[in-house]
């Protein structure tokens, strides 16, 4: 081995063989590797050619970007200034109606109230959704406790007429003072039950009483807030519209459906046969019928269900229908999370001597809810898309408001409806796509690989 050859210096690097790198090679391996693949590429390219250029032409190249009225967006034959055969989007129409699409016919002087609600919601939602931001607990409290009340007061103007709590209807003339007397009597009644229950079971009555009075104090705060004369002008829900109604319905649906959904999911997993049966029937009923029949029911039948003299406005009826409907779906999502937890979690909690409420509150639900965040976001996306259905029962949500703007003759032209739908599609797509991406991101983040 003494006279073996050992190279002293490194060989100069050679370029890769021709045809194994560069754009041509990429084309060959990715697009034209087999005859079938080449055919598929050509078909896909042709499909793209049929869809993308006309779309870009309509939305950007041929589109009109400024103008005052319909003449800007109509061909000469139709009484406008564009050459015959012109076909493009009419963006100034969207610009002129943007306020209508975002706020509906909400009074112009009061728009700041809606803006505050939008901003509060955006900040709180971002705080909840971005995992690294602090104050999650406070934020949840704000989003599900304070925000709904504040938003309600700001949007409607508050100053509700309260004239009867739970039992007043039986023995008092309805009035504001009667309401508070009734409230006090009801609270004392429940406190007495709680006290007697504790006495009857030889346990300490203080926690029970504390719970009853805690709920009562929160209720007093909320009721005082919504009934206080704050000097805000009352705004009927009939003039709400556009994105405002869409968001109100979607957010109310999700905020209301979470607690109801948790209860239903727990009920469905319960050992008590009757509780389980009732929850199963409730969930399967709402999941089995289309939302539009639910909305028909809430708009046509709900007034019949209520005692005479009680009347809801149209938006509230739709909200009730949507909340019931979405809580059934939410229950199934949450049940998925609860079922995904290994049995050891239950056994561990029970071995520690936790009772049912403690076990659910401290062990099961925190894990299960975290697990189903993507599912909850997906439910919200579905709900957000489904809010469009309320236009069928005569509410003006975002899509409904756009559709109703077609009757305005200022911008009437053949491209008006296409432009409106394109704008609606872009807005819905932006909202839903970003939420879907968020849900995928959470899924990756939560997937610790520990699940069996």
């Amino acid at each position: 081995m003494a006279n073996g050859f050992v190279r002293k210096e490194m060989l100069a690097q050679m370029p890769a063989p021709a045809g194994t790198k560069g754009p041509l090679h990429w084309l060959k391996t990715n697009l034209f590797s087999t005859p079938l693949n080449s055919a598929a590429t050509l078909v896909a390219l042709y499909a793209l050619y049929c869809i993308v250029p006309p779309f870009i032409d309509f939305a950007l190249i041929s589109a009109v970007w400024s103008g005052e009225s319909r003449e800007a967006c109509a061909t000469i034959k139709q009484g406008g200034i564009k050459p015959d055969g012109w076909f493009g989007a009419c963006w100034p129409y969207v610009g002129a109606n943007l306020k209508l699409f975002i706020y509906g016919r909400y009074p112009v002087d009061e728009l700041w109230r809606v803006n505050i609600v939008y901003i509060m919601f955006a900040i709180s939602a971002l705080g909840l959704l971005i995992p690294t931001l602090p104050f999650k607990r406070q934020n949840v409290f704000f989003m599900f406790g304070i925000f709904p009340v504040v938003a309600f007061i700001l949007l409607t103007g508050g100053h509700l007429e309260l004239n009867g709590f739970l039992i007043a209807v039986f023995f008092m003339e309805p009035s504001y003072s009667a309401f508070w007397i009734d409230f006090a009597v009801t609270t004392l009644f429940f406190a007495a039950i709680a006290y007697l229950l504790a006495k009857g079971t030889d346990s300490d009555p203080i926690p029970n009483l504390r719970a009853v009075f805690g709920v009562a104090i929160i209720l007093v705060a909320v009721l005082l807030a919504v009934s206080a004369p704050l000097g805000l002008e009352h705004v009927e829900t009939e003039v709400w519209g556009g994105l405002l109604v869409t968001l109100v319905i979607a957010v109310t649906g999700i905020v209301a459906s979470l607690p109801i959904g948790i209860l239903l999911a727990l009920g469905r997993r319960s050992n008590m046969p009757i509780v389980k049966l009732i929850c199963v029937i409730f969930i399967e009923f709402w999941r089995g019928v289309p939302l539009i029949t639910v909305l028909f029911m809430s708009s046509v039948m709900l007034p019949l269900f209520l005692p005479e003299g009680v009347d809801f406005d149209k938006l509230l009826r739709a909200l009730i229908g949507v909340a019931l409907f979405s809580s059934a779906y939410m229950a199934e999502v949450i049940r998925g999370g609860i079922q995904a937890l290994p049995k050891g979690q239950y056994e561990g909690a029970m071995a520690l001597g936790l009772n049912y409420r403690q076990m659910m509150q401290m062990v099961i639900l925190p894990q299960a809810l975290k697990l189903v965040i993507p599912g909850i976001v997906n439910t919200f996306i579905g709900l957000f898309k489904d809010t469009t259905l309320v236009l069928i029962i005569g509410l003006f949500d975002f899509l409904g408001q756009i559709q109703s703007s077609y009757s305005d003759p200022t911008w009437a032209s053949p491209v008006q409806s296409m432009t409106g739908y394109l704008f609606a599609a872009l807005v819905y797509w932006f909202f839903c796509f970003s939420m879907a991406r968020y849900s995928m991101y959470m899924e990756r983040r939560l997937d610790t690989g520990h699940r069996s």
């Binding site: 896909a44 509780v275 029949t293 046509v300 019949l304 269900f305 819905y428």
Partner: protein, 406 residues
């Protein structure tokens, strides 16, 4: 209670023997109390709903009952698969609506499945442009509300079509019918004398295929010999009827529409509402189906392919015997869910007045008869029945297909 008293109690208890639990802490008693209370509240709620409804109905001097279903409806319906006229009863309206719902749902399911499977497989293609295009197809479609799609097709795309007087399809002389803003005037198939023989052959082919495939499977289990089931089935279902069709002298002709002064006449008119609804429903659902198919195929571990290759199976049998049966187990449950969604979503037709169940029964018939409670109840019960039937089938299928472990 603090830890100290707990300790004392425990010591006390050890001296006194087992403590009697307070009756309220007995889980059995507690759960029966809760359930009895719940039933009580429920009964009270239902009772007050019913009594309120009865009071409100009688205040409007209405009664409750299904007798009105025999009354004449007094309105026209633009599309009906069965005999219908103004004099027909509300019950006939219900049947017309249900049949139209089923028509759009079944055609929609077939189209959505075909498109969805193709897009789902395209999404997994190694061809960059095909998989990207499929990705954007899915993302564009499923993130825009279905109702908006229906509007886009009905008020947008269909409005771009030429007028009834100058429809598309004149260059083919109406061989494919005429397409205009008023819908599609399709060639009308006219059955000849012997067509029933072909139909019978199709039925026979389907039944025979089932028998052949189960026999082939049993034989393979017993002896290991394979049987060209696919070709035999294709021959039975397509070849036999086709041969019979030709032998009996092509007993199917088409009545082609003709262009008149006011548009096409004759033929089989297909409503523009139907076209818009069907397109929107099937492409919207196809995006969801594509994702299900993709997830189902991806869910099969790569080791399955490798293991079956290691066992000596060629790619064809690997796909048939290993991959597809496992992927189907993942795909079918959410797929049925999508079929159900499509059926329920067909109720959105009410927005463009395609005459399906919600539109003509819960819409027009409700306004004509003023029977809100009865009609909404019937409508909801119909959809509920459809979805319960589906979920019963699903449970049966899941039980049959479930992996039996250990």
């Amino acid at each position: 209670m603090t830890v100290d008293t707990d300790g004392v109690n425990a010591v006390d208890q050890m001296e006194k023997g087992p403590q009697k639990t307070a009756f309220f802490n007995n889980p059995k008693i507690r759960s029966s109390v809760i359930q009895v209370l719940l039933i009580g509240i429920l009964i009270y709620g239902v009772w007050s709903l019913i009594s309120n409804t009865a009071a409100n109905l009688s205040a409007q001097s209405k009664s409750f009952g299904f007798g009105f279903l025999d009354n004449a409806s007094g309105f026209d319906v633009s599309q009906s698969l069965i005999e219908y006229s103004r004099a027909s009863s509300f019950w006939t309206v219900y049947q017309v609506g249900l049949l139209n719902t089923l028509l759009v749902a079944i055609t929609g399911i077939i189209l959505a499945t075909l498109v969805g499977f193709s897009i789902g497989i395209a999404r997994l293609s190694s061809n960059w442009i095909v998989s990207r295009a499929a990705y954007w197809y899915v993302e564009a479609l499923r993130n825009i509300p279905l109702l908006l799609w229906i509007f886009i097709f009905y008020f947008g795309v269909l409005r771009l079509l030429p007028s009834k007087r100058e429809p598309l399809g004149t260059s083919l002389d109406g061989a494919l019918g005429y397409l205009s803003i008023g819908g599609w005037i399709a060639p009308k198939p006219v059955a000849g004398d012997m067509l029933w023989l072909t139909g019978l052959a199709v039925l026979f082919g389907i039944v025979a295929s089932f028998i052949v495939s189960s026999w082939a499977k049993k034989r393979q289990m017993r002896t290991g010999q394979q049987f060209p089931t696919l070709y035999v089935i294709l021959g039975l279902i397509i070849g036999l009827p086709a041969a019979l069709f030709i032998v009996t002298g092509l007993p199917l002709s088409f009545e082609y529409p003709e262009i008149g002064r006011f548009g096409a006449r004759g033929g089989m008119p297909v409503l523009p509402e139907f076209i818009a609804l069907l397109t929107a429903l099937s492409i919207y659902t196809s995006a969801f189906i594509a994702e299900i198919v993709r997830a189902g195929i991806l869910a099969i571990n790569k080791g399955q392919t490798e293991a079956s290759h290691a066992l000596g199976l060629r790619p064809g049998p690997t796909l048939n015997l290993v991959i597809i049966p496992q992927a189907l187990r993942v795909i079918i449950p959410p797929l049925t869910n999508q079929f159900l969604n499509l059926t329920k979503n067909s109720s959105l037709a009410v927005a463009i007045a395609y005459p399906e169940l919600v539109s003509i029964f819960a819409g027009t018939a409700l306004n004509q008869s003023g029977r809100e409670v009865e009609i909404i109840m019937i409508t909801m019960a119909t959809y509920l029945t459809l979805s319960l039937l589906t979920s019963t089938f699903m449970n049966w299928y899941n039980n049959r297909m479930a992996l039996i472990e250990r």
